[in-house]
């Protein structure tokens, strides 16, 4: 926690690089598995369908999707593009590894996206945390979910 500032109300702030501009906030959905677009998600329901994926059956609709990055088919962008046309897209994307698949996918999903954060978002953010992404300023604000509920 040396780099991140901790605010009084337990908000953690990370700094990174804008991939796609804009501001969004919502509940985090975190996975340590890379995601396939084509063949890995259902673009009509906004769910992960890959057989051995830790989010199999889970919907990312309206979530702040936090993940290592993209893998698999070149249909990545086309499938996330269709989640937008079908209104089941994630609200924002926070990821670790830059590839052409994720860059183009974020651009055509037209949601705020951010990478190169000063701490590993997969360690700092947990599913259920409240996350605000201000991609234009390169800032991610995380409010941890209540513990022990």
């Amino acid at each position: 926690m040396s780099i991140a500032e901790t605010r009084p109300n337990d908000t953690i702030v990370l700094h990174g690089r804008k991939v796609v501009g804009g501001v969004a906030e919502g509940e985090a959905l975190v996975t340590h598995d890379t995601i396939s677009g084509w063949g890995g998600i259902n673009e009509r329901e906004g769910t992960v369908i890959e057989r051995r994926h830790e989010l199999r059956g889970v919907s990312f609709k309206d979530k702040i999707l936090v993940f290592p990055g993209a893998k698999g088919s070149s249909g990545w962008s086309a499938y996330f593009h269709m989640t937008r046309l079908n209104k089941v897209n994630p609200k924002a994307m926070i990821f670790v590894t830059m590839t052409t698949k994720i860059a183009l996918g974020a651009v055509v999903t037209r949601v705020p996206a951010i990478t190169e954060l000063d701490q590993d978002p997969l360690s700092v953010i947990e599913t259920g945390d409240w996350v605000k992404v201000d991609a234009d300023r390169g800032i991610v604000e995380i409010t941890k979910k209540a513990k022990g509920v």
């Binding site: 690089r17 991939v19 796609v20 890379t34 063949g39 890995g40 673009e43 009509r44 369908i49 890959e50 057989r51 051995r52 290592p68 990055g69 993209a70 893998k71 698999g72 088919s73 070149s74 249909g75 990545w76 962008s77 086309a78 593009h81 269709m82 046309l85 079908n86 590894t97 830059m98 590839t99 052409t100 698949k101 860059a103 183009l104 996918g105 974020a106 651009v107 055509v108 996206a113």
Partner: protein, 424 residues
């Protein structure tokens, strides 16, 4: 991003509204990547067809609307002119001749045929295969390309030494109209050098073993660049096609080196080119078994659908299947689809291979595959395939269990209705 005067002119609409939308997308995409500039390309392989139900609403607005939204990320409909770069269509969802065998509605077939006629006349070559390098699009070493299709991308970079990132439907649309793509990733020579040294400790020779190695390796290195050494028999196009497809399914491998075989690695030293080795990996019997077990998710040994040819079969592979089937009949409960590019199917037809396969009760299909079309024969419960890529994707896409094995094991399953494959 720095643009040349010609690129700025396109962005400003001086070459027309479609080029302006295309350049706008390339700038947004390039900035997302952190690219400093674009590079010229005259070799684009993309997906321009309208063969799925989800584009039905867009098709009603016309093919300019389809291309504008899905190939340029432009909600505003612009008139699409002829392609500026040499461009081809990759695999599609429908076999134009055998769509009834696939079980596809005629309305969708007509939609695809109209789309092909429209985009074909704009200069998009309808190769309709995931392997354009088997039917005439063979870029030369160092050529800048803008290709989709992860199995073709890894082949293009690794085996041909041409340069492409894994592009998408929208970026290839923009590249086709502008002759530009972001200069990033695999376009830059330093980024093409190895990261992981892989010592292969079991003999890898047949197609299945190249698939197992690729499937295991992709999951570990993800999008990094493995350098393969050890007990590898000298591979062929077919084996490397299969290996790359597997590694680009379990992971995101877009480039690898086999020193002494692939063009940018005369030896291990050149493969790494001074880059620090991130990790050393060993592939032995346990790793091989792990990949095999991960690919085999079925338990019922009664097979009713056998799928061969992903990536699309070379003519030698069609010949091999035809030879194994000659004079025999498929089990009545089983359907067999063998996939090969349209152009090679012509050769297979001429040679009599198609007749040998159809006489046995099988089908030689082109243009598509079950993973892309999302169609298997009606009533399919258990699938067998010789493709690690299909074995990876079909359980997710069709929700069906899959057996993975050699082409002989798959043909035997087609003849007996029983899966008897095992890891030798």
């Amino acid at each position: 991003m720095r643009l040349t005067d010609a690129e700025k002119a396109m962005l400003d609409g001086k070459e027309g509204p479609a080029q302006a939308k295309a350049m706008d997308l390339l700038v947004r995409y390039g900035e997302a990547l952190g690219a400093e500039r674009l590079v010229e390309t005259n070799n684009v392989a993309g997906a321009f067809n309208a063969s799925t139900p989800s584009v039905r609403e867009l098709v009603k607005k016309g093919f300019d609307a389809v291309f504008s939204e899905l190939n340029l990320d432009s909600p505003e409909v612009v008139q699409i002119p002829r392609m500026r770069a040499n461009t081809c269509q990759l695999i599609t969802g429908i076999d134009n001749d055998l769509w009834q065998t696939q079980g596809i509605a005629q309305e969708l077939v007509e939609q695809q045929k109209r789309a092909e006629a429209h985009f074909g006349a704009l200069g998009i070559n309808m190769f309709a295969t995931c392997t354009p390098y088997q039917v005439g699009n063979v870029p030369v070493k160092g050529e800048h390309c803008a290709w989709m299709e992860s199995s073709a991308v890894v082949y293009c970079n690794s085996v041909l030494g041409a340069r492409t990132n894994t592009e998408g439907k929208e970026s290839t649309g923009a590249a086709a109209l502008t002759g530009r793509i972001p200069y990033w990733g695999y376009h830059i020579p330093e980024n093409r050098r190895g990261t992981h040294l892989v010592e292969v400790d079991v003999e890898v020779d047949d197609i299945m073993d190249w698939g197992l190695l690729g499937y295991w390796l992709g999951e570990i290195v993800q999008e990094d660049i493995p350098v393969l050494t050890g007990k590898l028999k000298r591979p062929t196009l077919i084996k490397l096609k299969h290996f790359g497809a597997a590694a680009a399914s379990s992971g995101g491998v877009e480039m690898y080196h086999v020193p002494g075989v692939t063009p940018e690695a005369r030896d291990v030293e050149e493969a790494f080119g001074g880059r620090k080795i991130v990790d050393k990996l060993r592939y032995g019997p346990a790793e091989r078994k792990q990949a095999y077990d991960n690919l085999n998710c079925a338990s019922d040994r009664n097979v009713d659908f056998v799928m061969l040819g992903c990536p699309h079969n070379a003519i030698e592979q069609v010949w091999r299947v035809a030879s194994l089937l000659e004079g025999k009949k498929l089990h009545p409960n089983v359907q067999l689809w063998v996939h090969t590019p349209r152009a090679l199917r012509e050769v297979a037809q001429r040679n009599g291979y198609v007749k040998m396969i159809t006489d046995a009760g099988g089908v030689v299909m082109s243009d598509t595959c079950p993973a892309i079309s999302r169609y298997a024969p009606k009533g399919t419960r258990v699938i067998a395939t010789d493709s690690a890529k299909q074995a990876h994707y079909l359980p997710a896409i069709l929700g069906l269990p899959v057996w993975f094995g050699t082409v002989q094991e798959c043909v035997e399953a087609a003849l007996t209705g029983q899966w008897n494959g095992r890891l030798q």
